[in-house]
Structures are given as C-alpha cells and as structure tokens.
Subunit: 266 residues, 2 copies
Amino acid sequence: MIIIKVGGGKNIRWDFIAQNLKIFTKKNPVVIIHGASTLRDTIGTQMNVPTQTFVSPSGISSVYTDKHALDIFLMAYAGIANKTIVACLLQHNIPAIGLTGVDGMLWQAKAKPDLFVKIGEKTRLIRNNLTGKVEKINTKLLLSLLKQKYVPVLTAPAITVTGTIVNTDNDWATAVTAGDLQIKQIVYLFEASGLLKNFNDPSSIISHVDKNALQDYLLYAHGRMKKKLLGAKEAFRRGVERIYFGDGRIENPIDSALSGRGTIIS
Amino acid sequence: MIIIKVGGGKNIRWDFIAQNLKIFTKKNPVVIIHGASTLRDTIGTQMNVPTQTFVSPSGISSVYTDKHALDIFLMAYAGIANKTIVACLLQHNIPAIGLTGVDGMLWQAKAKPDLFVKIGEKTRLIRNNLTGKVEKINTKLLLSLLKQKYVPVLTAPAITVTGTIVNTDNDWATAVTAGDLQIKQIVYLFEASGLLKNFNDPSSIISHVDKNALQDYLLYAHGRMKKKLLGAKEAFRRGVERIYFGDGRIENPIDSALSGRGTIIS
C-alpha cells in the first residue's frame, strides 16, 4: 500500500498521474491525498476573500481561516478540485472515490488554540482560526473502501471531535494517515523535480536525504516545501520507511519518483 | 430503509432535521439526498456567473450548465453544502458521509443531447450543456456504507460512463436511487408545508394524492415543485410505494411528514 500526495499547484498534470496510476493501481492499493492551494487563492481573489497568511512563532507560514475563508476552502478543495480529480481518474478506469476529512470523521483534528503571532513589529492575537491538527483517522472506513478496490482521493478540511470543520495541514494529515494505515511509503508529487539545493536551479536535485538529518534540510526548503519536510519528519516518526519527492508535471511521475529521479528520503 | 430528500432552499433547518434524524436513524437506515439551489445562485451571482435557465419543449424549466456553471455547481453542492450538512449531522452524532454522484460512479448518467429550445419567440440550439439523466446507481457502494451504519449524504452532480461530470436533476436521481435500492418510501422536505392547492396559501395543503393521478396535480405545482412531482412519478414507476411531502423549516420535520401533516402520495 502506498500514499500518493499531490500538491495543489496549477501545473500538476493529473492526466499524466492518472495514466501512470492506471497500471500502478493494478498491483498496489493506493490512497491519494491532494491539495488545491492555487485554486483556493484564485477563487479567494475572485470572491474578494484573499488568502491571509501569518508566520507562527516557530517561523512557519500558515493560512488564517475564518468562516469566509473556510467557505472558499470548501469550494476549492472539496468542490472543484476533489471532484475534478476523481472524474479524471474515472476517465482512466480508476475506481476513484473522493472524500474530505469531514466525511465519516475521516480526519479527526484537534482545534488549534488562539495564537499570538508577529506581524511585522507588532504582536497580534489570532482568534477563531478554524484550523486544526489531524490526530487520528477513520482507518475502518478507508480499509473498507480499499478492500472493495476503490482508490480513495482525500483532501482537507478535517473535523474536530465536536463536529467543527477545520482547515488542516494536508502534509501533516498525510503523515497521520500513513501511520494509522501502517503504510511504509509515500510519494510526494509537486511542481519541482525534487528537493533542490538551489531553489532556482532545477538540476540541483538532492537525490538522497537521510531521514535522521531531515532537520538540516529545512535550510534548503522554500515556502510550502518546509511543511512537506515537517510532514515527512512526522511520517517517519509514525513508522513510514521511505518517502519519494518527485515531479508532478511529467509523464509517469510515480514511476519516475520511485526510480529515484527526484529525492529519496530514507 | 428510507430516503430523505431535502431541498436547497435557504430556510431549510438542518439543525431540526439532524435532531429528528438522531432518533430516527437508530431504527431506520437512511439515505439523504440534498439540493443547494439557493447557494448555487448566490455564488453564481457573486462570481458573475448567474444561473441561466431555459424552458424545454415539454415546458420544464432547466438550468443551462456550461463549464463555468459546473464549477459554481461543484462549489455549492459538493463543496459548501454537502460538507456543511455532513458536519451538522456529525454534531448530532449521526455518522454521516458525503458523496456526490461522481464518487465511485455513484450516479451514472446519460449525457443529454443538444437541444432546441424556445427563448421568447426565438428558437435556439443549446449545445455543450453539461447535463445528464441518472440511469443507474452504484448500489454496491451504498449498501456497503449502510451496512457499516453510515448515513450517506448524496448530491449532484452525476457522471457519465466516460467520466464527464454532469449536472443532473436531483429529484430524478432520487427516484433512480430508490428504485435501485428497492426503497419503498421517500420523504421530501422543502420550503412549504406540503403540496398546496393555492401557492400563496400555506393552509391549502392537499393532504392526499393518488399516485395514479399525479399528472393532474402538475397544475398546482409551481416552479421546482413540478420537478418534484415528475420525480415522484418516476419513483412510483420504479417501485416506491409511498411518498411524503413535508416542511423542512419546522421541528421534527420527518416525523411530521410521516404522520401526514404534509402531503402523502400513495
């Protein structure tokens, strides 16, 4: 069993991923987890609810999610992205079924507390941030779908134990999903050829990373890549053995990542 | 087993429905099907993609769905409405799981052909209308979820056999779902106290309708109610025995409809 985590960039080629999966899923049960950040930002701009981010005290950039932002999030992730991806897979005869972390309490999250953050020189209290951290998943539901040969296509948001929908870090959720399902391998596909030493040089791929030295590589990580590395770190802590970072814009992206053309963390 | 079909009006009280379902689902397996028409219209207006309707040669008003309209549809139905309803049910300890007709090819539809329609005095060819009619459902998937005690929460769109997402008539899909699952009873909840003799007089409820005389009642039907009656007619043709029309704005809406306070068609 393997998780394929696909980023939400606009150049991701789902047709290539589907073509690759068509053969791949015959031998390997697959769980897909996807983002939709570009689409969310686009819809947010169109609806005059621009994405607001802040930097947490630990230096990680996070999205602030109030009620309006959560609606935009649902439109992009659960609405357009999830169903378009499922349809693309179905077009390639892959029996896909799309679920968010809300459905059947698939991704159970703990709400994040109010938080003091620095905005420039000022400290501001972030309240009512509808965000949570996934703590456990509904393994029974996923295993039942996998047993019936479905390919689950999962995405944020998640849900708290009291039934509040919360935005959540997909990379962290990926780690928890892998851990709870005892999955040993994750393939990350995104808009880069792998983890790069020099962000502006696609050929500067770091081909292997020691999982115990992941912390050191946070230096090389730009933007969202930081969260991916933190997610990877958490995945190893939860029993994952091998993580592949590969290019989601090329043909046969999964085979390519598995054969080591991107970055292997082990 | 019973289907509860809930309309997409803005005054529907999902909190009341959930409170009622909390007790009701303990004894009866339930499939919920919901609309989101008001929300779709609101988002469409905000995003400058107003809902376009046309009247078919048989006199039925239909929504024209191009690519942009389908995106709005997905945002409203699959995105905000479905997940908000699922969360509301989860808050009442009802193990809800939200799916569209796309997921796992749940609602398999036949695409509608290009169509000549009258707009005023002119005849216009409607092309590329991403609309289809549900012909069969994935019963295996639904039965598996019901067996695991989930409450499936279903909504349009549907999907063609070649994997194209299509807008679809939820009321027709409800009839097909009932038929394929051999469900004998459907409760419709909407923003009226039942089928009314006089649209403007809420007390003019028609308390009983002979299922064989449904055609005659199309006279009394305004707007979307027409589609509900046609859906009901199709449901009877597929083996349903009793349909209840009731008010989705009141407390205990399901019990109320079942006890005959709205309209019973049998």
